[in-house]
Amino acid sequence: MPFAIGPEYIAVALLGVVIGIIFGAIPGMTATMAVAVFLPLTYAYSMEMALYLLLGLYVGGISGGLVPAILISIPGTPSSVCTTFDGHPMALKGESERALKIGITSSFIGGMISLVVLAFFTPVLAAWAIKFSAVEKFLIILFALTVIAALSRGQMLRGIWIGMLGVLMAMMNQFSVNNEYRMVPDFLKSEMQSGFQLFPVLIGLFAVSEMFQQCETGMHASYTKEDAMKVENKQKFNFFRDFKGQWINVVRSALLGTFMGILPGVGGSAASLIAYSQAKSWSKHPELLGTGVPEGLIASETSNNGLTGGALVPLLSLGIPGDSTTAVLIGAFMLQGIQVGPLFITNNPDVWNTVLVALLVCNILMFLVMFFPVKLLAKIILIPQERLYPVVLMMCTVGAYATLNGRMFDVWCLLFFGIVGLLIKKFHFPVSCFLIGFILGGDLEDYFIQVLTAYDGSLTGLFVRPMSWVIWALIVISVVYAFLDNRKAKRQEKEAAAKQ
């Protein structure tokens, strides 16, 4: 089987991975943006060279997001939202190095598992994925939303309420089917045709509101010089110990991520959300998730890297991108005069093999590039807040401005959602639930309307397909589980209160 490999390719892949990681690690800059920026560069390259570069950017971009998620609790990319839940608490306990290493290793394993799936099961899976209609996709989004219930342990009603508010906010735009605006003030119509963009919302809610809160309490550094010593001496990363008993979690999360990637039209962030809520549901000690245990971190990171291989499945076998980044990759193939479609693998075996090898190389490079400088990266957490926040804010501004290729509106959204995030916290609602509602709201509506249209306005459409029953069962299990867990949490709270 011929494929292209050589030092020049590996050099280009390394370049892609490093730049990708930079894009991923800067809040608001994403893998999609990295690939889009470098797409024009590939005019001058051969197809193989272009693949190494772009796949490097893709893998790097998805992986880089874990660094700020763990260290400063700002997800570098939307798919690393769940990484903050357990990664940052670990870092606060002084285990930032360990958390980073676990995250990176998980990313690598996730990427490899999805690569295996891509290499051996592509045609089968693609044929299977297109059997998923709007009904199943609606239910999968709904399933992803159940993570809200799992997250808002002890205050489920509040979590769901604020999540629904997020869903509502996601609908402040021009509805794409009939081009009608809803809930948009007149003077913002041209800015809000596609509504609020995800990245400014994400950054506003997580980074800016946090900055305001820190300002309120006077910006006292979370770490002092003495703490620096502690960081050095905390629990070290040990592959066998940290991953012991986690293999089911790893495989489940990676496959969930891969599967979400395979399904076209189900966004990448749904992958880590579902993986996280499943990790919690199946965990032996669900109450610990969210307090800084490796389990949640592993689930989130394996699944979002599992996405990479998965998203390539429909792209290479159907010509339909599995996520927003692979949508940009189509352009790269087109520029090289290669049509991705049902005959791509049969007609271009060399390119296909190169994709697989390149993905393998990029995953390995990603691991090496990220794993060894971890000690240095982990020191970011020691940067005093008064120094860190201004720089983060500046980077976020760049990211927001670049979200839709240069709009001040998205920059203003940072401030707006910073204040919204602050208000949400002040009224004791979980911010992450709002964000998850916002992320999934748009898709939820699209598929809901599609179901209604397909079944002539009847909701029975949601129950007639056998495949949908499976998803319904999963949803019900998740909700019931979360409900029981919620009651348990409340009971524990009371007991704790009674003891005092």
Partner: protein, 150 residues
């Protein structure tokens, strides 16, 4: 159950459902939490606590909001690099505590951080990666080298 899908008004179907759920859940939320408070021997409605922390840092909190507003406002008037350098320095100054405020070293470091960070980001993303950044009157263009620093 049937929902009549009319093309020209279908953009309201889901928002109305969502608003409905929000209202129902909202009432439920108030009722459940209120009942819990009554059970605990308190009034149905919680006394609104103080919005801000006790002795919250007024200068830093309001200052950061105002400064951020000014930063965004000036971005596309001044141009990204220069504007960011100025405001990064201002943010650094705003966030300084009393002790730091008095030490010249702190401010020197502020200047260095502001200039270096902004230049690195601006050159890396704006110039090398050719991402469009806000431009204003301080944006430098050198056409001969097709170089631009926003």
């Amino acid at each position: 159950m049937r929902i009549n899908v009319v093309y020209s008004t279908q953009h309201w179907i889901f928002p109305i459902i969502t608003i409905g759920v929000l209202i129902i859940l909202g009432i439920l939320l108030i009722a459940v939490e209120g009942a819990a408070r009554v059970k605990a021997g308190k009034g149905f409605f919680a006394k609104p606590g103080a919005f801000f922390e006790k002795n919250y840092d007024k200068v830093k909190f309001w200052g950061s909001i105002v400064l951020m507003f000014a930063y965004f406002f000036m971005l596309d008037k001044i141009g990204f690099t220069v504007c960011s350098i100025i405001f990064l320095f201002l943010f650094n100054t705003l966030f300084a505590n009393k002790e730091q405020m008095g030490t010249p070293k702190y401010h020197v470091v502020s200047v260095i951080i502001s200039v270096v960070a902004c230049l690195v980001i601006s050159i890396l993303f704006g110039t090398i990666f050719a991402i469009t950044l806000p431009s204003g009157f301080c944006t430098i263009e050198i056409p001969a080298l097709s170089l631009i620093i926003y």
